[in-house]
């Protein structure tokens, strides 16, 4: 794994999480992971690329996708792609469970950062898990 890819909608949310974490003193902690935070543009994705393309790009580029999306199940949903194409060593998708709290609750934002860090730090234990939540 070489980094994370915030879903296009949550580039701002992931940035806020990391800014809040640095402000709280976790900068060195985060930097020690040595991970890139990529963008759709940087990995050649269109802002409206379908979830299947985004997921495949993440697997190919060894990036963990971070989302805030609340989607219904459907044949072309991210959930369906994970089920159809996920294998034992696929990188998980991390979904922030409470988009509103990232903005409104500093304590939640810092807990979410720690959960994100822990998932990434122990990524080997989370491969193949499909979708995981940042509660």
């Amino acid at each position: 794994m070489r980094g994370v890819l915030p879903d296009h909608n949550c580039e701002g949310h992931v940035t806020r999480l990391l800014v809040a974490a640095r402000a709280a003193g976790y900068g060195d902690f985060w930097d020690a992971l040595g991970l890139a935070v990529e963008s759709f543009a940087a990995v050649g994705l269109h802002p409206r690329s379908p979830d299947s393309d985004v997921w495949r790009t993440c697997q190919r580029e060894q990036l963990v996708l971070v989302t805030v999306n609340r989607n219904h199940r459907g044949p072309d949903s991210l959930e369906a792609v994970i089920r159809a194409e996920g294998v034992a060593d696929s990188l998980p998708v991390l979904t922030i469970g409470d988009e509103n709290a990232v903005i409104a609750d500093r304590g939640y934002a810092l807990r979410a950062f720690i959960r994100l860090f822990d998932y990434l730090d122990r990524i080997g234990e989370h491969r193949g898990a499909g979708r995981l939540y940042i509660p």
Partner: protein, 139 residues
């Protein structure tokens, strides 16, 4: 510019702003928590710098017009999120947290420990109870 139009965004996203991946269901918790359309637009200006309160109001107007249908899907999505991770994921996190804390400088370790000290704070905040069906939320 983002047009003031709603379309089905596909990929299970449901109704959202045409030309974006911003769907209504992602915004409902923020609305239920009492945020204004301008507050909500502001938080998505990365990556949508042209997003305005009018775009958010358009989505909320759609929500009010299709309230029962939208809230039924919202409840289903929220229930899935509330079920959260498989137990092994949460158990591994609880077991690993002390090792993770041990890597932090003492002062930061204490503050981080406090963040997770209360069981109620270990996860997300309790979901906001939406208003009764048929009761549009003040935007």
């Amino acid at each position: 510019m983002i047009p003031l139009e709603i379309e089905d965004l596909g990929c299970g996203r449901g109704p959202g702003l045409k030309g974006t991946k911003l769907n209504l269901y992602t915004l409902i918790p923020a609305r239920l928590a009492g945020n204004t359309p301008e507050d909500i637009a502001e938080r998505f200006r990365v990556p949508y710098p042209d997003l305005t309160a009018a775009h958010i109001e358009l989505l909320f107007s759609y929500m009010d017009d299709h309230y029962d249908e939208v809230m039924a899907v919202h409840h289903e999505i929220q229930a899935r999120i509330d079920r959260g991770n498989p137990p092994w994921v949460e158990e591994q996190f609880r077991q690993n947290l002390p090792r993770l804390l041990a890597r932090l400088p003492p002062e930061l370790r204490a503050r981080t420990e406090a963040l997770f000290a209360e069981p109620a704070k270990a996860g997300r905040a309790a979901p906001v109870e939406p208003p009764p069906l048929g009761q549009p939320v003040e935007g």
